[in-house]
């Protein structure tokens, strides 16, 4: 079982990867592309932080700085964080956890991978061909009037959107039609539940982004005048359209992270997940309510006060299911058998950082406070705490947790712990200080700033270097693991989840003979004698 053929060595040659329909190989290729995007986006972040070391010009011009933060945002959002967990880890483990051989539409799955790559090529073309400088939000009328390469970038976003939609359709159908015999809805692991609710958002929200960027493209080329006030249009309408996608997209980013965290906490505590059903329902609730809150990005945009009030109310409601999840994870630890391995350390940092992100979300949800804090570093810090402290930490947790299964190799636990310390300390140094900076009045997207803010920026920039070191250590020991790692046993963590019952790495058809019959819940751990 441990050696012999598996999905990696079943067929050979580059073509067997490019034209594969195996969900596991597609997942691995997604992982590679997504990590590439992460390092590229991260590079822009380091450039930005370095420039902000001094209050005035250091080595970038104002325009280059604006291009750098736009590219950092656009790459991180569209190329990294949206596909990160669902397309890589999700593609790999969703069919296995369902007890299926593959996703419902394997060729479509391959198509979405290469559509993603085509979209990425457009984005890179935009970087080479004049670097877009609009901010990743592409607000009109600036985006319809600037002379930088907006069109290749939004073309890329348009294409990436379709990749995301196709993945979403595939996942929904897979969950509905491909469950193993006996696997009823409430026996599914929470990772599946969150991927399912994510897929619903992807299918419902992404088309609106597609049409929005298409309209922006038409605005720039033929001037249809829907968003440009000079032509009689309404720029706030663009913001409505954009955030109708981009707010639910925040939950596309965070929901799968919550799923990973649920898997990790159950495995490393050897516990049934506390309040499993409520967790499943709250994932669905988040998916639904996420469509009702986009207007909280428009509190100061000139939106009607009635709409503003409604959005504020709904924004607070969306916090409740997230809060429930945090409490449930912590409750799962109670009376468990906790193994403090690196995936669990990332779980702990997720809880801490996501809590801070959540509380500052409450601050920003309040109408009167948001007026002061809107478009300041406070907002920057808040969404980095949620997106990076939440999603990236969970992504790392999942990567460490599932690494032995995906590649059949172990990594160095000592190196992982050292890297964790760098990442955790570095992250907090970069972003915690930004909360204070922001509430003190430092606006975001500033190239020059008042010299009195310099001490804050220096701390933040130094933090960014520590964070970068952490990520390079991670990259290092993962590459080392691939080259010289110890052979991983099928179930190194003693997990009861479905994917750990098959070989590491899995064989091409996941389950050697018949599909499994699943007659128990997802977190079936034994109980002590006491």
């Amino acid at each position: 079982m441990s050696s012999g053929t598996n999905y990696i060595n079943a067929t050979k040659g580059i073509k067997s990867w490019i034209f594969t329909v195996d969900h596991k190989r597609i997942g691995i290729m997604y992982l590679a592309f997504v990590l590439l995007a992460f390092f590229l986006g991260g590079m822009f972040a380091i450039l930005l932080r370095l420039e902000l070391l001094t209050p005035s010009a250091l080595y970038l011009t104002a325009k280059q700085y604006n291009q750098a933060f736009t590219l950092h945002g656009a790459i991180m959002v569209f190329l990294f964080i949206v596909p990160s967990i669902p397309a890589s880890l999700g593609n790999f483990f969703l069919p296995i956890q369902l007890g299926a051989i593959d996703v419902a539409f394997p060729k479509l799955n391959l198509a979405s991978l290469w559509i993603y790559v085509i979209g990425a090529v457009f984005c890179f073309y935009s970087i080479i061909g004049g670097s877009v400088d609009t901010g990743w939000t592409f607000y009109t009328p600036y985006s319809s009037s600037t002379d930088t390469s907006v069109i290749p970038m939004i073309m890329g976003v348009f294409i990436l959107g379709f990749s995301s939609i196709l993945t979403g359709i595939n996942f929904i159908v897979t969950v509905h039609k491909m469950r193993a015999p006996g696997l009823s809805w409430f026996k599914m692991p929470l990772f599946i539940w969150t991927l399912y609710s994510t897929a619903i958002i992807q299918v419902l929200a992404t088309p609106v982004l597609a049409i929005t960027v298409l309209l922006l493209m038409l605005e720039r080329t033929i001037g249809i005048g829907i968003f440009d006030p000079a032509l009689g249009g309404d720029p706030v309408l663009f913001q409505h359209f954009f955030w109708f996608y981009s707010h639910p997209a925040v939950y596309i980013m965070i929901l799968p992270a919550m799923g990973v965290i649920s898997e990790v906490v159950a495995t490393f505590c050897k516990k049934k997940l506390f309040g499993y059903e409520l967790m499943a329902y709250s994932s669905m609730a988040i998916a639904f309510i996420s469509f009702l809150v986009w207007g909280h990005h428009l509190y100061v945009s000139g939106q009607s006060p009635y709409a503003t009030m409604l959005f504020s109310l709904l924004t607070f409601l969306v916090g409740i299911p997230s809060g429930i999840k945090v409490f449930n994870w912590i409750a799962t630890m109670y009376t468990g058998s906790i193994d403090l391995k690196s995936p669990f350390l990332y779980f702990l940092s997720f809880i801490f950082l996501f809590t801070i992100g959540g509380f500052t979300g409450v601050v920003l949800g309040s109408l009167s406070l948001d007026i002061h804090l809107h478009d300041t570093y406070f907002v920057v810090a808040h969404f980095h705490y949620v997106m990076m402290g939440g999603t990236v930490m969970a992504f790392l947790a999942g990567l460490h947790y599932w690494w032995p299964k995906m590649f059949g190799k172990m990594y160095s636990e000592v190196a992982a712990r050292i890297a964790f310390i760098f990442v955790f300390v570095g992250f907090n140094m970069v972003f915690f200080i930004q909360f204070i900076m922001g509430s003190k009045g430092m606006p975001r997207r500033y190239y020059n700033y008042l010299p009195e803010f310099q001490p804050y920026h220096v701390v933040s920039t130094i933090g960014s270097w520590i964070l970068a070191v952490g990520f390079f250590i991670i990259l290092g020991y993962f590459i080392h693991s691939l080259m010289k790692g110890k052979q991983a046993p099928p179930n190194p963590w003693g997990s009861s989840a479905m994917e750990w019952k098959i070989a590491s790495p899995p064989t091409t058809f996941n389950f050697d003979e018949n599909l499994p019959y699943i007659d128990h819940g997802p977190y079936d751990y034994p109980k002590g004698n006491s």
Binding site: L237, H240, G295, S304, Y306, A307
Partner: protein
Amino acid sequence: MSDKHEHFVIPLKYYVFTLIALLILTVVTVAVAQVDLGWLNIYIAMFVAMIKAAFVIFFFMGVRWDESFNKIALFGCLLFVLIFFVIVIADVSTRGGVYSSESEMFDIQSPVRPIGEGGHHGDSSHHGESDSYKSSSSSH
């Protein structure tokens, strides 16, 4: 296993009936549009369009006989379209928009016509808070 392969074939009469209904409704909607009924026109036109859409969905697309989740998917998505539509329109129509008295005061030419001048968003239709957003200045 073989019984699972059997597909339900929709009886011919449904198709023919739907076709006739759609043709008639098209003629009706064109005819009604020729009569000026003011604001009622748009509502009648939309109502007829919805009936036509229902015919297409239920019979041509076979939703009447389809699996329940396919129905949920279709009608569920209409709910989200409705949310999108209602909230955006609710915002745009209650924005208090362009402050007409101020644009007079500062003599600014705007190509954007204030919402509420004509059309179906009557100026008088919203009272309360939004009024206090309009200029009530006595300084000039």
